[in-house]
C-alpha cells in the first residue's frame, strides 16, 4: 500500500544488510510505520496512549477471563455472573462505556401512562458512543447497575420482605429537557420525554450487579443514527416511608459513600456487543 512502508525487503531490491546500514532515524521511522500497519490491522487509527485515570471495569476483565478460558485456571477468582453466551455469540467486539459524568442531571420526568405516586429524582446518563467504528454493527447492549445491600442493623428496624423492595426503571430519553436558559424553573431542570426500556423489582438485602437490556435504544442511536439523548434511571423505594430511597442502587457519585476508586468500579456501565465482519464471535474457548 502506497502509504505504508514495506518492512519486508523485496527480493533483489534491498538486502537485509542494507537495512542494517540505515540511519537510526530511518530505522525508527520504519518501525513506526510497521507499528502503524499492525495497529491498523487491530482496527486502531493510532497507538493508544491510556490516561492514568483510565479504569478497566471488572466486568470486562471477567468477560475476558471467561471467554479466554483463564477463569478455569487453578486459583482464578470466582466470577459472579454467567457468561452472556447469547450476546457474545453474535459479537466479536465488546465495548464498555461510562457515562459523561459532567452531564449527569437530575430532571423531572413526565410519562403518559404511569401514575405519579412519588417524586423520585431520575438520573440521566449520556454515553459517548462515537468511538464505535462505522463497520461495527451492534447486536445488543446492556446497562449494568450496581446495588449495595442495605445493612438492616445500621438502618434501624429491619425491613420486612415488602418494605425492602425497590423498583428500578430504565428509560431511553427521547426528548431532552430544554437548555437552562430557556428551561423551566431551577435552571437545568426540565421535562424529559422517555420510553421505558426495562424495569425490575429488587430487594435491598443483596449486593450485586443488575443488567438491563437497552438494546432498542443503543441500536437506534448507532444503526439508525437517531439522536442519542441518553438513558434515564429511576429508582423507587416501594414503601410508604421510603427511608432507604437513593441508598441502594449506585447511580450517582454523589449518592456513593465509598472511596473514589470504588466508584470507578461501581458506577453504571454500558456494554455493547457488535461485529465488524472480521473473524469469529467471542464464544467461550477452552483453555489452550
Amino acid at each position: 500500500e502506497s502509504n505504508h512502508a514495506s518492512l519486508i525487503p523485496e527480493e533483489g531490491k534491498k538486502k537485509v544488510p542494507d537495512l542494517q546500514g540505515r540511519s537510526a532515524a530511518q530505522s525508527h521511522e520504519l518501525l513506526r510505520d510497521f507499528e502503524a500497519t499492525l495497529l491498523h490491522m487491530f482496527g486502531l487509527q493510532r497507538r493508544p496512549r491510556p490516561s492514568r485515570s483510565a479504569t478497566i471495569p471488572r466486568y470486562l476483565l471477567d468477560l475476558y477471563r471467561l471467554q479466554s478460558g483463564e477463569a478455569e485456571d487453578a486459583g482464578a477468582p470466582d466470577i459472579a455472573f454467567e457468561y452472556p453466551e447469547r450476546s457474545a455469540s453474535r459479537a466479536n467486539t465488546v465495548r464498555g462505556f461510562h457515562h459523561e459524568e459532567h452531564m449527569e442531571k437530575v430532571t423531572e420526568k413526565v410519562t403518559e401512562k404511569r401514575p405519579r405516586h412519588r417524586e423520585a429524582p431520575p438520573l440521566r446518563f449520556l454515553f459517548n458512543l462515537s468511538s464505535i467504528p462505522e463497520d461495527e454493527l451492534l447486536s445488543s447492549a446492556e446497562l449494568r447497575l450496581y446495588r449495595h445491600q442495605i445493612d438492616e442493623a445500621a438502618g434501624g428496624a429491619p425491613s420486612g420482605q415488602e418494605e425492602g423492595l425497590h423498583r428500578i426503571n430504565v428509560y431511553e430519553v427521547l426528548k431532552p429537557p430544554p437548555p437552562p436558559a430557556a428551561g423551566g424553573p431551577g435552571g437545568g431542570s426540565g421535562q424529559l420525554i422517555t420510553r421505558l426500556l426495562d424495569t425490575r423489582v429488587v430487594h435491598h438485602n443483596a449486593s450485586r450487579w443488575e443488567s438491563f437490556d437497552v438494546s432498542p435504544a443503543v441500536l437506534r442511536w448507532t444503526l439508525e443514527r437517531l439522536p442519542n439523548h441518553g438513558l434515564a434511571v429511576e429508582v423507587l423505594h416501594l414503601n410508604a416511608t421510603p427511608r432507604h430511597q437513593d441508598k441502594h442502587v449506585r447511580v450517582s457519585r454523589s449518592l456513593h459513600q465509598g472511596a473514589d476508586e470504588d466508584w470507578e468500579q461501581l458506577r453504571p456501565l454500558l456494554v455493547t456487543f457488535g461485529h465488524d465482519g472480521k473473524g469469529h464471535p467471542l464464544t467461550r474457548r477452552a483453555k489452550r
Binding site: 487491530f42 482496527g43 486502531l44 487509527q45 493510532r46 497507538r47 493508544p48 496512549r49 491510556p50 490516561s51 485515570s53 483510565a54 478497566i56 471495569p57 470486562l60 476483565l61 468477560l63 475476558y64 477471563r65 471467554q67 479466554s68 483463564e70 466479536n92 467486539t93 465488546v94 465495548r95 464498555g96 462505556f97 462515537s130 468511538s131 472480521k278 473473524g279 469469529h280 464471535p281 467471542l282 474457548r285 489452550r288
Partner: protein, 113 residues
Amino acid sequence: SPKQRGRKRNRNCRRHALYVDFSDVGWNDWIVAPPGYQAYYCHGECPFPLADHLNSTNHAIVQTLVNSVNTNIPKACCVPTELSAISMLYLDEHDKVVLKNYQEMVVEGCGCR
C-alpha cells in the same frame, strides 16, 4: 543412520514456538490482557520436487518424471496453513475498554505451498 535421518527431518518445514510478549514491544500499557501469547511461526525446507500450485496430479507427476523437472520452477514455501484467533482486552485511542476477538493470530499448522 537413524540419527542422520532425524536431523534431516528437523530441517523440514514445521511450526516453531514464538512467544510474543507485549511488554517487549512496548504495548503493555494499552493491552490489558493477555500479557503475551504463543503465536508460533513456520520455518523449514520444502523438499518437494513439484510446487503444489503446479498441476500435481499423478499423471502430471509421471509425465514430469519422464520429461524431467524444470528447475526454474520456484521452490515451495513453508507457510501457515491453519491459523486461529485470540481475544484481547485493551484500552483504545479514546480510553474506552474493548474486548475483541482477532482472527489469524496463532499458527496452528504449517505447510509447503
